[in-house]
């Protein structure tokens, strides 16, 4: 390795004195460095403090890339002072050292990491066991989840990614790369119980990412937050309803002659409430997040995951929002019409009108059988039922996004229908609020017969 010996570097360091206020300024130093390959930027700062200006402030702890305390902007690029060597820059080039972007400056190069950890905490970055086990889980190192997680858990929360992100500054609610990366590792962790809560917290943030890969480029631990963010979006499409609610064993479902449709009612601006016992999965997100989760037999989790995979297969086959269900009810065969283009509508019961509270959006999974060529397929289709307050009115939306056919879901906190694929957002009246959808949500035809809501599948 070529070593650069004996060189005087021109070094400009940002200075800010909290007792003086103002915008800060740069101080210039000349520093003779004997061996630049053996001198880190942290060494430079320590020497400046020791030899030239004892009032210079910066933050560090471990000095070996493990604690993430000394993140700063060095010649325009984020990095750890302890991991950047002077010889990384061409000989004679000046070195400019600034505090991280997008953080309040405490003094000189020291920033307040508070906003970072606030976002971090909001992403529910902590493990919540599905069940208190006596022994560590048996998980093979070559399992899909561990391969996907890889070294992404090695994040040292240095904030370099947030500083490098051009979006972090413009979207106050954007969680930022590192917090989303941590959320990703937990979403993939089969031992963790908070999949749905965490997904709710982080998904919207993911759409703020413009895939510029700055975070990936500057990460001192070689973690790709961009990948993590895109992975979360992919998970949201593949496994929108993954949850830890207690699923019934498959046999019970089969023996049930006429399964109840699953309804989830969520009033705009209020916490969602499950009205019908969830056979398939929707999960009460209002549950206190700090409570320990009821024990679930591992087999049940696995059975549940199996049905998820089938569900996923349906999606990836390109059927859009309509998916195949491995278990489920069978509707009367007489409903099944010829599989032609202009088939008459199939009136699928959605349950008693009483189950759709006024002032709330309810998600109902309609189950029906359709003839496709010579096959009979059992299908499930989520639809969105909105009962505006103070009006004797029902609106039924097709949950298929008008952009590319993913499933939209109702987000009670934002009062929007959201699409996980490309960030489409629709208002309560179905109109497009954000993202690429070309037209409002489609309405579905319905009728009320003897107090029961029937929805037309075409």
């Amino acid at each position: 390795m070529e070593s650069t010996k004996g060189n005087t570097r021109k070094i400009d360091v940002f200075r800010y004195d909290p007792t003086q206020g103002g915008d800060g300024h740069f101080d210039h130093f000349d520093l003779y460095i004997d061996d630049e390959t053996n001198t880190t930027i942290l060494d430079v700062l320590i020497r400046l403090q020791k030899e030239q200006d004892s009032t210079l402030s910066f933050r560090y702890a471990c000095r070996v890339n493990m604690c993430g305390s000394c993140g700063m902007v060095i010649n325009g690029r984020e990095g750890l002072a302890c991991k950047t060597n002077v010889s990384d820059f061409p000989a004679k080039q000046g070195i400019t050292i600034r505090p991280l972007n997008h953080f309040p400056v405490v003094k000189d190069l020291v920033v307040d990491m508070g906003p970072f950890f606030k976002h971090y905490e909001e992403c529910l970055p902590f493990f919540e066991p599905r069940k208190i086990m006596d022994e560590p889980a048996i998980i093979r190192p070559d399992s899909k989840e561990r391969i996907a997680i890889g070294l992404a858990t090695e994040c040292i929360a240095c904030g370099c990614c947030v500083s490098s992100c051009t979006m972090a500054n413009y979207h106050e609610n954007y969680a930022g790369p590192a917090p989303l990366n941590r959320a990703f590792t937990l979403l993939m962790d089969s031992r963790d119980a908070l999949y749905e809560e965490r997904m709710d917290k982080v998904l919207q943030s993911c759409y703020n990412c413009r895939t510029e890969f700055n975070c990936t480029e500057v990460c001192p631990k070689d973690i790709s937050c961009t990948r993590a963010i895109k992975y979360i979006q992919r998970l949201a499409i593949k496994e929108p309803f993954k949850s830890v609610a207690k699923p019934k064993p498959a046999q019970d479902v089969e023996s049930s002659p006429e399964p109840e449709p699953i309804i989830m009612n969520t009033a705009p601006g209020t916490s969602p409430v499950i009205q019908t016992p969830a056979m398939d999965v929707k999960h009460d997100t209002s549950r206190c997040r700090h409570e320990s989760t009821p024990a679930i037999p591992v087999e049940a989790i696995e059975a549940n995951n199996t049905s998820r995979r089938s569900f996923l297969a349906g999606l990836t086959m390109g059927i859009g929002a309509v998916s195949v269900l491995t278990v489920g009810g069978v509707l009367a065969a007489s409903f099944v019409g010829p599989a032609m283009q202009k088939k008459p509508p199939l009136w699928v019961p959605a349950g008693s009108i009483e189950k759709f509270p006024v002032g709330q959006v309810s998600t109902v999974n309609l189950r029906y059988t359709e003839n496709v060529g010579i096959y009979k397929q059992e299908l499930v289709k989520p639809v969105l039922v909105w009962r505006p307050p103070n009006q004797n009115k029902i609106i039924v939306y097709n949950s298929t996004c008008t952009h590319l056919g993913c499933t939209v879901h109702w987000d009670v906190n934002q009062n929007l229908f959201l699409c996980a694929c490309h960030g489409g957002a629709f208002a309560l009246d179905g109109s497009v609020m954000a993202g690429p959808p070309p037209r409002p949500l489609d309405h579905m035809e319905f009728k009320v017969d003897s107090g029961n809501l029937l929805i037309a599948m075409v």
């Binding site: 471990c62 305390s69 302890c82 962790d189």
Partner: protein
Amino acid sequence: MIHETLKADILIIGMGAAGQLAALYAHDENPDLNILIVTKALKGKGGCSRMVQGGFNVVLNEADSHEKHLMDTLKGGQYINDQDLARTLVEQATPTIKEMETRFGCFFDRNPDGTVHQKPFAGQSFDRTVHKGDLTGIEMISRMTEQIMKRKIQVLEECRAVDLLKDKSGQQVTGALILNMKQGKFIRAEASATLVATGGGPTQYRFHAPGPEKSVDGLGMLYRAGTLMRDMEMIQFHPTGLIIDGSVVAGSLLEEGLRGSGAYLYNGNGERYMKNYAPDVAERATRDVVSRSSYLEMMAGRHCEEGGVRIDAAHLGAEFVLKNFPGMCSRCAQFGYDLARGPVPVSPSAHFVMGGARINRDCETSLDRLFVAGEDGGGVHGGNRLGGNGICESSVYGRQAGKALARFMADNGTAPPETDPEMVGELMAKYLAPFGRNGKEELFVLRDELKECNWNNVGVVRNAKDMATAVEEINAIREEAKTLKISGTRAYNMPWNIYIDFLNMLDVSDMVVVSAMARKESRAAHYRSDFPEQDDDKGLFNSFLTRSADGKPSLITEPVDFMYKSLRECQIHKK
């Protein structure tokens, strides 16, 4: 000067594994407890637990046993361990590591069948070290910091405890005086129970493995508070600290697993000198033996060009080294060394303080309302700590302390007595004194003098003459320190904090040299060229010291209590 007052049920000083686990277990025993953590760094970013590379020794395999782990620990400590503490360590390590996975979400490396992997470490009769790659501490501390967030336990960042507070009687600890480093303001934190868990970090030596922010703060404040301390002569030097001339990185470690996996050490003449010092195990000898051997080679002039010896793992195969030690490889690569394919210069590096406050298995100390866990406590490791027993100690005893603190609060969790009314004012005046002085700005010079003094005279190899020199030098440096001046404002004033670090180093240097002079034999990490033999007739004692009225340590010795394992059993144990 005006200061803020905070009150809590439990005050925890330090946020490494010991402090965090204590907080988590105390909280989980009783979520209503008001727990306050203060840390010198940012949340979870300070200290040595995060810097753990190798891993955590624990019995998980049926072919292994607590008995074997205990015997290895006693053998490693050369028999002067507190056997009850050592036994608690090995027995509680098993549930502790399991709970780290099942309750707190750590995920350690796995065997191909999905069970937890354990790797070989030096000085062990079984491959029992659980790890996450070669940077295990990041996984442990990151996951536990998140659990602290989850429980919304209050953490004051960049707030260092400078001294413990006590009542008028001097027997009850009422909390600690805290310095908010960011603002430069003092906080009086009072609590029913106080846990000191700052970690040690013997950075008072030229080469040191812990980060420079570590400065034996806990040991210093415990000593000044009058806590009974033990075995302070026992300072571990890790054999493989990187030599990077002039850089703060110098002394940082290449992990033990390299030697465990079969890496060789060569002196400047290209000889595998460990075969002369420890013919049976060579490089896999314990840290004390390897460090001493390297040091003696260096002193005999058989050092390499860079001044130390060289570690070479190339014969293990580049692919193996890159796969198993990626963190170490990248650390070396940053400075132009290729660990996978060639030698890297290393030196012994001050690493760990085996001594510390005398505690029992519930982390209680000689003072009331005062608990100590982790490296600030002494006795677990005896005269030398095995690689992989360090994070094990901080975790196990953090957990012990958390449970003990919750019990203490349930049984007698009354508010603390009134703090000695003079104390806070006196302490603040003491720490603020250098601001008003018309003295010298030679803090860094003095600190470096202390480091050189300790390295040369009370380091890897000691003798009576050198130590007498050290006593004089330390006293002289202490006198000089009284003239030091600090400039600038108080907010985020780094030299001021280095000054406070330096005062702690001075007090600990006193304790080490006094204890080292009292042990007239060589044992474990303590090697005397004037008494080179281990003497099991005279040397089987523990040294206990407190700070006497004149500010100097007063020392007594007590015979080792062989309560579970006899001397004979310890002596014949083969690793």
